[in-house]
Amino acid sequence: MLRFLVKRLLSAILVLLAVSVLSFLMFFALPRDPVTAMCPKNCDAQRLERVRQELGLSDPLYQQYVGYMKGIFVGRDLNSAQGGHCDAPCLGYSYVNSEPVTHTLTRVLPVTLSIVIPAAVLWFGLGVGLGMTSALRRGTLLDRLAIGFSLTGASLQLYFVGAVLLLVFSYTLHVVPVPHYTSILVDPLRWADGLVLAWVTLAFLFCAIYARLSRAQMVETLSEDFVRTARAKGLPRSTVYGRHALRAAITPLITIAGMDVGAALGGTVVTETTFGLQGLGRTAWDAVREGDLPTIMATVLIAAVFIVVANIVVDVLYAAIDPRVRLR
């Protein structure tokens, strides 16, 4: 187990390094000059050149990269236009936001976490529950309803469902307030009531996939020999389904859930835009639109971290859930 973790962590670090190098190169391949973000108006060539010198943008690429990476681990000194010293983890300074990128991230990350984690619990629970139930009640009305429901969800788009729910429940019926973000530490009730629409929308769309997948998995598992053996031994149905079949059926779902949550944490651009919430996804999108390179770079890195971490968690969960899996 320990050996596995060390191995996975090492490879994760390699992946992240590769991502950092790639995104850093992208920084320079983009058709945007970072200097123009500093000086959007009334800037002539001479002035731009001075700004470029001052920001160290004429230094060799590797030198800039080393400076950037050093900033993440031990902090670095930026010039006065970038607010002076920048504490670790320093991800650079955004001229568009007029603040260190780390400040932006610490503000928007909780928003994305607050949207994704409860929504994921909801979509996973609901999806797997629906899927299992319909697998066990195959061919019944309940099964058909569940399949229909999940088909509907799987074929709809978030920006559509979100807009309809907003229009009906928020703008017209006024049952839920217009989506907003309040920290859970400040007021858990307001936190929940500002995000509930986003959770429900995400859960409805995602649970569809999980319901269909878990139904298929369960149906397949139920026809396996070990299930027949367990039944033949005379175990109660609940033990057969709950302990034997479910554990086997759920492992592939965990993989998918891990990927989904990782990707969602990396940026729920559409969700955040639909509900007007300023999370990581919106921030990344704004940064791309405004050519805010330090912020783009940071969001890319964070998204990569989430996906890598989610994958490690999934692998560990595998071992915990499925006794056949041994981590080496």
């Binding site: 001075r50 607010g83 928020s170 217009v178 300023q278």
Partner: protein
């Protein structure tokens, strides 16, 4: 649809802006009146620079006024403000040397804000200007505002770290566009740039090497806001500016929320334009245009006292225009932001061809393409209506839909092949296609060449660009012909790149007229600019004036006192209040 450009314009386009008025009714409900022509002057009577500002009818104190906007305000530091939303919000927490008294109906006068008058031209040569600072002015910390604090504010705009703001004062003082190398700013120090002095706490003097008669106008921008040297936090002032106005920043979560609450040290007796009606202003960033305007239509809870800053999107326009219940919530007015079809006179050298373009243009169809009268309003002049001294004229009268026969007659059988450069986004390409179809009816052969949206502005500003025609926008920083015609048509300013004279007009006779008018008392320049506008169009026809943007916004049923500011064409908050 066109509003996208207007919204982006403030922060990104390399243009300054101008004032507007209007020539045409802009929809069902026109809160601004339908003929809005500026009668603006500089008011040198000190009495008119005093407060308190006249009470707004039915206004009451109290409540929270909300503003919903998708994107954050790029800068709050007065020396760095240049976006429209920044320029409209700044007056709440920041005062400048001069300011505009604006009734939202075109009555526009420049008065002193921190200064007792809009400045004295000491030797009548526009080179030496003196301002006397009012008594009773205080920062939010209770400290008195002196001439030295205003001088310090101007000095810090020389700091190369503090980019983004206008550069008029710096360039005029340093007498070079490279002002930040001409004089080095030291934070918190008492040193002032060359030509700027504060001999005592009540006197501020500008001494320029060249005449700058527009100084009273330039001093109305937030970049002349005061700052105590000890309170200068450099780039961090952007998140927490020091207030000199009726409100102060009490909470600022960039990109999410900005709260402004009453500043107890602001004295209404010193202020000719501002009020302090709501207890609080809350700017809420994030909701997109559709969401924000849907909330205005829904009109419930706190949204009743809110303004959706971003214009009504085309998806909701029909519904808003058609719903009579919503008409009291509509805020609409033409703006000073004008679009023209620039003709590159280096390439289109034949005057009759340029005149034929002017006759052929079908503004009515163009405006339909843009989304109708709630989005744009036609113009035939180079200066937008509402510029001081504006006179309506049409050098090439061809009606709303153009005079194809007249254009053909001028072309006399020729079929000029012209290249129309257009930004490659969908809206601009739609306009380009409309123009192509329109102009080809008169016999022109138009080739539309898409230019990547990001680089279109830079490329058309290059002297040797390969296009004959392109649509340009201009919005001036103050409503004077001086900030419109010389930047757009002075041939002596043409460089290899970065040109505002994108028609590349280079006519010595016109240039000497510019010099003559610029040397006049700014209060007397108005009619001269109007004459020159007409002369340029008649003699040179370097562009086809197309339209001005129309603002069309929604607010909640309890949001009162709003009007579209005449100078920048965006909602003004100085009179805002929350209805009971």
């Amino acid at each position: 649809m066109r509003l996208r450009t207007a919204a982006a314009g403030g922060a990104v386009l390399a243009l300054a802006l101008t004032l507007s008025a209007c020539t045409k009714n802009t929809g069902q409900h026109d809160t601004a009146g339908n003929t809005r022509t500026s009668t603006g002057v500089i008011d040198t009577n000190p009495k008119d620079s005093l407060g308190p500002a006249a009470e707004v009818p039915d206004a009451r104190k109290g409540g929270t006024f909300y503003v919903l906007k998708q994107a954050k305000i790029s800068h709050l530091d007065p020396q760095r403000i240049y976006s429209f939303v920044g320029l409209m919000t700044a007056p709440l927490y920041s005062r400048s040397l001069t300011t505009w008294k604006d009734d939202g109906k075109g009555h526009l006068t420049l008065v002193g804000d921190l200064a007792t008058t809009p400045g004295t031209d000491v030797n009548k040569d526009c080179k030496t200007w003196q301002f006397t600072i009012k008594d009773g002015l205080k920062f939010e910390d209770g400290t008195a505002i002196t001439a030295k604090d205003i001088a310090y504010g101007i000095a810090r705009s020389f700091d190369p770290d503090l980019t983004g703001g206008p550069t008029y004062l710096q360039e005029w003082l340093a007498n070079t566009p490279q002002f930040d190398t001409a004089w080095h700013f030291t934070p918190k120090a008492a040193a002032l740039p060359p030509g700027l002095t504060a001999p005592d706490d009540k006197t501020l003097r500008f001494e320029f090497k060249m005449p700058h008669c527009d100084l009273p106008f330039a001093a109305s921008l937030p970049s002349s806001a005061p700052l105590e040297p000890d309170k200068d936090t450099g780039v961090n002032l952007d998140s927490q500016p020091l207030s000199s106005g009726p409100y102060r920043v009490t909470k600022n979560v960039p990109g999410v929320e900005l709260d402004l609450e009453r500043n107890q040290y602001w004295d209404p007796a010193t202020d000719p334009v501002r009020h302090q009606y709501p207890d609080k202003f809350v700017f809420s960033f994030g909701p997109d245009r559709d969401a924000a305007n849907n909330r205005m239509i829904s009109d419930s809870g706190p949204d009743q006292s809110a303004l959706a800053w971003d214009d009504v999107p085309s998806s909701l326009m029909a519904r808003v225009v058609g719903d009579t219940n919503l008409h009291d919530q509509v805020l609409t007015s033409p703006t000073p932001s004008e679009a023209r079809l620039s003709i590159n006179v280096q390439r289109v050298t034949d005057l009759s061809v340029r005149q034929a373009l002017n006759y052929a243009i079908d503004r009515s169809d163009l405006i339909k393409t843009l989304g109708g009268p709630t989005v744009a309003s036609p113009v035939t002049t180079l200066m937008p209506p509402g510029t001081i001294g504006y006179q309506q004229y049409d050098a090439y009268p061809a009606g709303d839909t153009g005079d194809i026969a007249k254009a053909k007659q001028l072309l006399a059988g020729k079929t000029p092949e012209l290249v129309l450069g257009s930004a490659d986004d969908s809206v601009d390409l739609e306009i380009a296609t409309q123009l192509k179809n329109n102009l080809e009816k008169a016999g022109f052969k138009i080739t539309v060449k898409p230019i990547p949206e990001d680089s279109k502005l830079d490329e058309t500003k290059e002297k040797n660009n390969p296009w004959d025609l392109y649509v340009d926008n201009w919005a001036a920083d103050w409503p004077s012909g001086a900030s419109i015609l010389p930047p757009l048509f002075d041939g002596r300013k043409i460089q290899d790149s970065g040109n505002s004279d994108t028609s590349y007009v280079d006519d010595p006779a016109i240039d000497s007229e510019f010099d003559r008018v610029l040397a006049l008392d700014p209060a007397k320049q108005g009619p001269e600019w109007a004459k020159l506008d007409q002369r340029i169009m008649k003699e040179l026809a370097p562009a086809v004036p197309l339209y001005v943007d129309v603002r069309y916004e929604l607010h909640g049923s309890k949001a009162g006192g709003l009007f579209i500011g005449s100078v920048f064409g965006y909602p003004a908050f100085t009179n805002a209040f929350v209805k009971a």
